[in-house]
Amino acid sequence: MIGRLSASGRLMVALVGISAIVGLIAAKLNTSGQLQVAAATTHAFVDYPDPSIVDARALPQHEAALQQRAELYGRLIATTPLLKRIADRAGVPDDQISAVARTTAPVAITLTQPSSEERASQIQDSRMPYRLELQADPVEPILAVYSQAPSVDEAERLGDATVLGLRDYLRDLAGRQGFPESKQARVSQLGAAQGAVVSGHATLLIGGLTFLVAFGLTFAGLWALVRLRRRRQPLVTIPRRVTARAAETADGPANDDWPGTTRVLPWMLAGFIAMVWLVPFNTIELPSALPIDLKLDRLVLPLVGVAWLLAFASGGLKAPRWRLTRIHLALGAFVACAFLSVIFSAAYLNQTLELELALKKLPLLIAYVSVFLIVATSVRPSEVRAFMTLTLVLAVVCGLGIIWEYRTDENLFTIWSERLLPGAFSVAGDLTGIDSLDSLGRRGVVGPAEVGLEAVSMLAMALPIALVGLLRGGPTKRRILYGIAACVLVAAMFATLRKSALLAPLAVVVTLVYFRRRELLSLAPLGLVIAIIVAALSPGAVHGTIDQFLRSDAQTVATTSDRTADYDAIRPDLWSHLLFGRGYGSYDPATYRILDSEILTRTIETGVIGLVAFLMVGVSVVLAARPTIIGRDPTYSSLALIGAAAAVCFLVVSALFDVLAFPHATYIFLIMAGLVAVVVARDPQPVPKRERRSRGGRTRGAHERGPADAILQPARRAD
């Protein structure tokens, strides 16, 4: 049967076969060893010998004293002498057991976040196959004991042995001190430990994921090699279909471009962009019993995805088109690193019961990337400007809403979402922002975002659209409108009262200065006008923001010192998983530290290689856009410049907060990146001879390729 296939068919079968073999070997290797994890639970009750605390005569202070004993005994169990006794009683090796006693009392979060030294100890303990976790009830004298072992029987024995081991230790201590047994604290077990297997499908999950990733990467690698080899062969024929399409997109059927089109996909995309800018979708949820939260974007995005697939399957000239750019490669590399990080640490994550967390985050990453792919394939080059204009309009509406929130304490986005959405949805946003004062006493002015920093990031990424619009010149009326838009965006950023309101737009301006020094200099007087209007729109906000940098304790306020402390505290995580990290999405801030930096989160979760891949996503947008920007194409260079500035802004805010955890900002960046991909991979337009001559010795942009390039380019894609 294979003999009947064409050469390309046989090649495909060979690639699939080799990839499948590699995938199977990788899956086999990654699932070798003990992957079953069982857990058991029991509770210990700390009581007076006689009369019991349950007795009606007991006073509240008696209960408090016993609760403190329960907390103390939890700490006691997590020490070597107790663990040895427990291991002896449970019949498990005493050098393979570890324990952690969690702080359940209401203390400041900075005291519960592990320092570098404590984290190093936690990492060592987390590798033990037999583990105990002790949690004292914050009110009652009850100690919860959670045990973990490779089998249910061992986990239950370990749970039971914990209480017995504690009793043994206390009895021996009392004996050594000559303390009468009748006056000792009584520790009773509230029922035998009940266990179950908690990683029943670990082999299947790890094996399946490993196979898929190894298969996919091998296939992609081999396919790239084949393509490279073919590219070197001379191209002689250009399919008529492709040239027809090239001519169509180059000249642009103006009457079929969005918004003057009946194509469904661009309209759905526009709707999605509007939702990202105006709806607090991350706080809107459809209650369900599914393992994932049904947030609004997770309901809308699949619809867009299905429409995209249908459009793709239908084919024809109006179908989405693949245009491979550096941005695609960088995003692909990052996704590959994310999956590899989970696969390499799969056994460890399974042992620490964090595999499920990572497996839930990977589909979210795919969802992010799918937004980029949909934009990059569905939008036509001639539609990019319209989508940029839509983005700016929505950003201005969003900015006005944020300014309104700053001035009136009313979050219109949350209020209107609650009113307009059907009752089945629950909206959890703060309507006023007053409830969420931070440690510096700043109100949570957030607009449709979840935190102020996210709102700043969103607006800052839209700011270059307004600034580049001003730079481009054109009719005065249009320039005034762009100027007003810039004022609203900057005023809205300051209205969030975040320090980033200075840093994020600065990143945008620096990028514009780099590429368009002279033009931007001519706008300097306008800066003064903008400053005055901004101060009028958000009174007090500019001063309040700048003051945060100038106050005497600027370096020691919690928002700064917490961030700075993270850099030292994560060193054990970095050094223990240097290359690929501990697994994408596996670092739970609630368990470890709240890291206010995507750079640090990437370093921990995806290692140094994953961090470089993440940074390359932003850098690739700038690199891909650069030739078009410096080519000064009258139509596309400004669009590429907007994308580059947004990418630099995204990289800067990545150092300020965990941006991937906040979908508004991430979606906006990926939409911008998708639009840049469309611009830089557009089909070359035939450049009139006169125009080419006038461009003289400047660097040749994509649009300035020679006629031979113009002919060959589509043919290469046709491969």
Binding site: Y48, T80, Q124, F179, P572, L578, T603
Partner: protein, 239 residues
């Protein structure tokens, strides 16, 4: 290609070994991170662990005492004793005293002040972190050093030096044994390296980075030279 390979190999070797030319020798770099921990209950002679007559106020007093003793560990005298037990110059030892609700971060002018550049620091540090539990009189002592042995010695030395200090103080002030605070060390510290095999990872990473940079530089230089050649040829042809 060969130039890039050689340069990358030298860089990889340099990343894991200190290279000395006179005399020619290689000294391993400290890339490993070792940890050890021990726990101390601050107790009364009649242990509060079993004696239920110690009420919440008694426990609160002991907890405050634990914070105080944690701070004593970072004092000059005890610090010098710890460094001596470890055979280390005292200035190489970094001790973090317990943080509390009132002092939740190290002072900015202290040796423990946090900086973003901390992430780039070498691993040949001798660090001790003393934490006082917020609710019960327990001191958690964590050490971090380049080797398992030194981590173990450091954590244990902290307890021993504190105990020695308290004993000397009791003798000097004539405090009765039954009035002294008791330090119950709950098991000796046991050290372990958390990033075994890190040398290979670092060498591989540095090799890849150095090779990429070298290869890119070689290609760039080659292209520049080709450009010059082309320019000179076209100049000759034009002439």
């Amino acid at each position: 290609m060969i130039i890039s390979l050689v340069a990358a190999s030298v860089a990889a070797l340099w990343s894991v070994q200190r290279i000395s030319l006179f005399p020619l020798e290689l000294t391993p770099r400290s890339l490993e991170v070792a940890t050890a921990s021990t726990h101390v209950v601050v107790d009364t002679p009649k242990s509060a662990l079993v004696d239920l007559r110690q009420d919440t106020y008694g426990m609160e007093a002991l907890r405050n005492r634990a914070v105080l003793l944690g701070n004593v560990i970072s004092s000059t005298k005890v610090r010098e004793d710890i460094a001596r037990r470890l055979g280390l110059p005292v200035e190489e030892l970094r001790i973090q005293a317990p943080l509390t609700e009132e002092q939740s971060a190290p002072p900015v002018d202290s040796e423990n002040a946090r900086k973003t550049s901390d992430i780039l620091q070498a691993n040949d540090q001798y660090r001790l972190n003393v934490q006082a539990n917020a609710t019960v009189p327990v001191l958690d002592i964590y050490s971090q050093t380049p080797s398992a042995e030194s981590a173990e010695v450091l954590a244990n030395a902290a307890v021993e030096a504190l105990r020695t200090y308290l004993n000397e103080l009791a003798v000097a002030e004539g405090t009765d044994a039954e009035d002294q605070v008791q330090l119950i060390q709950l098991g000796r510290a046991h050290g372990a390296v958390i990033n075994g095999g890190v040398n290979w990872q670092v060498a591989l990473l540095v090799f890849m980075v150095a090779f990429s940079i070298c290869a890119a530089t070689v290609i760039f230089v080659d292209r520049v030279r080709a450009g010059w050649r082309e320019a000179s040829l076209s100049g000759t042809a034009g002439a």
